[in-house]
């Protein structure tokens, strides 16, 4: 069934692409992608390529991560407060393989993501008995347990301790432009996959479980299996993001990769952008990273988190569906006005 669906999609792709580009959303997305591809070639200024562009790379990594959270929570309705589990484990596997086993980075990223999928499986199965806030707390507890185990000095021979793994070889490329392009490719592929999954029949089943699990069960859907799939799929993309983050930073450590902050980053970015929209995650991540960047450049670094807290409160309070929808609507209004419609 899945095979047929994919074949069908591939066959329809050229016509689909043509009609998609003509839609407002399609055009805008294409414009954004083209701008992102063109961006690194605009300037040779080191301040631009090595500082500003790196922030873009970071934002792209976090947007994959936030989108993976949105896939699990927004689309499948399984609230996760411990998404850093997958992010961290993939980062650690990736760093370990590069540093201790001399793997090339792209293979390490790939294996790291697979490792995260495996974790999605083993964490998904026991967590299936839990719903709503219980699941949220269960995943949070899982991530805290992992964090504490990795922090423990007495386990540092096995889990590398509080200092984690660091090695200058943990990087995709020492040229930030190359790194940018590779991460951009990861991002585009991840987003296309996640959006297509959420639109597909498979995605419909996930959404049906989110809306009413009993009814999905009564419709003959093995909800358990699909929830595990959702966990694994989400873990895959969280793992890609986590492994990319490890190469971006060049090191892994417990707090930086398993910390509750990382889980909350995903939640913040995805809900700032707008839950269930997937694309909103990208907007949220870029918004988040660049607001932080401009505040730091403006010399207000100690107020960064305070301002984020305020923005989060205001956005959640006054715009339940995040900032993506209202912004898109404004742009569309403007567009219509420009075309004289």
């Amino acid at each position: 069934m899945l095979k047929n669906e994919i074949e069908e999609k591939v066959k329809q792709f050229p016509t689909y692409l043509k009609s998609w580009v003509k839609t407002f959303l399609g055009g805008l997305t294409l414009f954004c992608i083209i701008s992102l591809i063109a961006l690194p070639f605009l300037s040779q200024n080191q301040n631009f390529t090595h500082v500003f562009l790196r922030q873009f790379t970071l934002a792209m990594i976090f947007s994959i991560f936030a989108a993976s959270w949105d896939l699990l929570t927004g689309i499948s309705g399984q609230i996760s407060f411990g998404h850093a589990i997958f992010f961290g484990i993939a980062g650690y596997i990736c760093a370990y393989l590069i540093s201790y086993q001399n793997f090339p980075p792209w293979i390490a990223i790939f294996i790291g993501a697979i490792g995260a999928v495996f974790f999605g499986l083993i964490i998904g199965i026991p967590c299936l008995r839990l719903r709503g806030p219980y699941l949220a707390l269960g995943t949070l507890a899982f991530s805290l347990v992992l964090l504490k185990l990795f922090l423990m000095g007495s386990l540092s021979d096995v889990l590398f301790g509080s200092e984690g793994i660091s090695d200058y070889r943990i990087q995709i490329s020492d040229n930030p432009v190359v790194e940018y392009i590779i991460i951009l490719m990861f991002m585009i592929v991840s987003f296309i996959t996640i959006i297509q999954v959420s639109k597909s029949k498979f995605g419909t089943i996930l959404k049906s479980i989110r809306d009413d699990e009993v009814s999905a069960d009564a419709s003959g859907i093995n909800t358990t299996r699909f929830k595990v799939y959702a966990f694994m799929l989400s873990a895959l993309f969280a793992g890609i993001a986590g492994a990319c983050y490890a190469t971006y930073v060049g090191a892994v450590n417990p707090t930086g990769n398993f910390g509750a902050t990382i889980s909350f980053y995903a939640i913040l970015m995805a809900s700032l952008g707008g839950l269930t929209t997937i694309r909103g995650s990208a907007l949220g991540a870029f918004f988040f990273i660049f607001l932080e960047y401009s505040l730091i450049v403006a010399g207000a670094e100690i107020y960064v988190n305070l301002i984020f807290a305020l923005i989060l409160i205001v956005v959640v309070r006054f715009s339940e569906h995040g900032i993506l929808k209202p912004i898109l609507e404004r742009i569309k209004d403007l567009w219509d006005l420009l075309l004289g419609r």
């Binding site: 301040n47 631009f48 090595h50 200092e163 984690g164 660091s166 450590n253 902050t261 100690i302």
Partner: protein, 480 residues
Amino acid sequence: MEKNAKRIIAIVVVAAIIVGGGLTAYFLLLAPEAGQYVWSANDAPGAPAGISSSQIIKIGCAGDTGEIQGDANYEGAWFAAKTINQAGGVVVNGTTYYVGVTREDTDESNTQLVTSRGIAAAERLVYNKKVQFGVGGFRSEALLAYQEVFMDNKIIFIDTGAATDIFCDNVANFYERYQYFFRWMPINSTSLGGEILTTLAGYVMALNTTYPNHDVKQVGILAEDLTWTGSLIAAIQSYLSLFTNFWVQLLTPILYDISLDAADMNTHLQTLASQGCDFLIPVISAQGGILMMQQYDQYHYPFQIFGIDVQSQLDTFWGDSGDACAYETVMQTLHRTNKTTKSIAFWDAFRAQFGHDPLYIAIGAYDAVNGIIDAINATQSFDALDIIPEFESWTKSNPNPGVSGGGAWWPGTHDLVEGYPYGYTLWCQWRDDGTKVVVPAPRWAYVGALGYAIPISDLYPATLATGAYEVAPWVNTAWS
């Protein structure tokens, strides 16, 4: 009609925004040299106004803005720059240069560390501010990540706060890449462990003669369960094996999870007390210390506290702990004493400038900046590859004393040489009037061949001490 008017206005406005945004982006980011930090006299405290950017030696401070560690790093570097600039700067090949310092926020003191913030800070220092030297670092895992930015660009980075051995191991193992890394402060964990135990042994020896009715023997360790304490405790244990069953006996070390609360601390201290602990060695950098001292003060436990408690190094700890830290003895890089000839003058000047004691990181940063300038002066060059050999020549035979000590480094590892008169710490004890004194540090070692312990050279001469070691009154009662 009205609709068309609106449309035209909208087109104009949008076009204006696009053009304006594009131009802004071009001038802020894209144009060659755009967005580059412009160094000016403001960055060089004490330098004459109107000096040009090319006349400034650019030093970047990496630390957590707004936290004591990061602020201390900046204060130390800034103060060194001010002193040097006021003294007329440094003349290289006939041109007078002044020292400029700048800082970026690495956010590393945040318990919820976000490693990428440290990386971004280092990138801004290197690519945006084009610093020639980096100074800073406190949390090992953060510094491990962002030091790579400096190493990538072959910029000398001087560690002023992280004690883990791994940095200098890197220098030894991958010299080609990590030769730009130097540790100016503190001494590495392993050496700290040795200093703690041998000095403690000296006190135990002395106290056993003072208190004939009590066998001062049991030593407990209370430490954060983290990697940096791990190597330190391992060092203490290996030194202890020299003393085994002689007159110091180690209780099972208590390694606690850093997120502890009062009940946990109470549990640990009671456990130690019930095991008959006589000396407690804390190895604490975070908030555990304040809980420990508060309960020590309330319970009047019959043991002495003697070890590392980073927060207790600051003079503000007395007030912060609610006057509870009396009789705690802590390792401290510097206090107002003649560690070197420059020490007291520096101490007083620093206090006059900032109104509080310098943290060890501030002292490290001060010495580091002075060291950089000395090396520039000596080599008449700004090239890292010229300066590194100069730094490496500052060995035991050719030290370059700063305010904190003798200033000698091991050439192969770029680590501070431990031991008097080079790199060593002072032992400072809080008095119950809220003052802190430097106590003498006799050291004893057990010599297997002789079968008994002998005094070895003191950690530092007794002349540096500003007061005698005191036993808390309640411990005195318990022991006599």
